[in-house]
Assembly symmetry: C2
Homo-oligomer: 233 residues x 2
């Protein structure tokens, strides 16, 4: 099977709004059940089941069964990157209506995007890292010398992440904020740290993250992020 048929297979996978809605939902990095995806996409269970099977067939998602549940997740960081790049095509989109902003903003204070921080928190963190001189824009993002020690103090070794194959830093267009947040292995590491230190925690009901009081303090101290910037508003 050559390049062409492979890309076309992925294209067919993403050629339907229901399936795209599922994939974009899965971008939060959390496994979803088939029925949750059905609700998300607005279709019945049988339809969703076929869609999932199809997404598996074209390599976009993977599944694991546990009891009578089947959990669906993206097949890997590469797939997440494809989806993010694809969403980036929408960038020159007209701003949403104010009411739509209001509606999504409520859900969008903080969440994960695949394996990194997103939503207002994610965007604020990237802004904070740039303002603090931890990162700098040099035709793409780079870590400054001071930034290395900043991450070290957080227990994140930049040099060991650099050794891996995955890109260290990557812009990822935030779906709700329409501005970039931090992706790549460093973004993932930062997200892990935020979770491990209890600065954010996953909420069971929704896919959103909750910022803890300790998290608000840490955001303020480390990055000068005002707590008010993170409130649901």
């Amino acid at each position: 099977m050559n390049e062409v048929s492979l890309v076309a297979a992925v294209g067919r996978g993403l050629a339907d709004e229901s399936r795209v809605a599922m994939c974009l939902a899965l971008l939060d990095g959390v496994p979803w059940t088939v029925s949750a995806l059905a609700a998300e996409a607005g279709v019945r269970l049988p339809t969703a089941s076929e869609h999932v099977a199809r997404l598996v067939r074209c390599g976009l998602v993977q599944t694991t069964v546990s009891g009578r549940h089947k959990y669906v997740r993206l097949a890997g960081p590469q797939v997440a990157e494809v989806l993010e790049t694809l969403c980036g095509l929408a960038e020159p989109a007209r701003p949403q209506s104010l009411s739509a902003v209001r509606r999504t903003r409520h859900l969008a204070a903080a969440r994960t995007c695949y394996d990194h921080l997103a939503g207002r928190l994610g965007v604020a963190v990237l802004d904070g890292l740039l303002d603090a001189g931890v990162l700098r824009r040099r035709g793409g993002l780079v870590v400054t010398r001071a930034g290395r020690t900043w991450f070290d103090e957080l227990g994140i070794s930049v040099s060991s992440l650099e050794a891996g194959r995955r890109p260290l830093l990557r812009d990822c267009l935030d779906l709700t904020e329409r501005r970039p947040h931090l992706a790549g292995s460093l973004g993932a590491g930062l997200c892990s740290t935020f979770l491990a230190r209890g600065w954010v925690r996953r909420t069971s009901s929704s896919r959103a993250l909750a910022v803890t009081p300790a998290g608000e303090r840490a955001a303020g101290e480390l990055l000068g992020i005002a707590a008010s910037a993170l409130v649901v508003a």
Copy 2:
């Protein structure tokens, strides 16, 4: 129109092998006529015409008419990036059969990929830049301090490229070599330089680039690339 329907529209655009073949052909950055695309994709002219119209509708390509010809090109660097990322999904692909390698290798000594160098030349240039210490892998590609002066001497100002919004350095999986070559604004700048200095020139018949004798000398002196590495073999 929300994110979902936009991605799905692009997905439908890429949901057909003929259209994907066209888009991948257009990755060389050169405008193609509708009939050339028809031949490339192996369909008749009417079919190709409809495909092009459809690709225009979903924003993947743009067209300009000149006389009785219509020239088709990708809509922009973002589209090229999407296609390259998509091809990257194929990376863990089994190596091609040797005969297939031979066949493509003939076409693949040197060519452009959107706006940067590709083929054996492109891969060799990236390897050379890494070996020479001009670039380094640090969880993604970075320019070394020595590399900045190296590019300066070539008339390429890294710092002015850094000022732009476009990523400076990016890996792009070479479609024939199955190894990365250099993309991003620096890759594009390097390609321009190669063309401007007459180190490579576009061949009218095919989409390939021809490496000139001066180009072979320059490749050897600047990057230690053996001329034998660039021969069609």
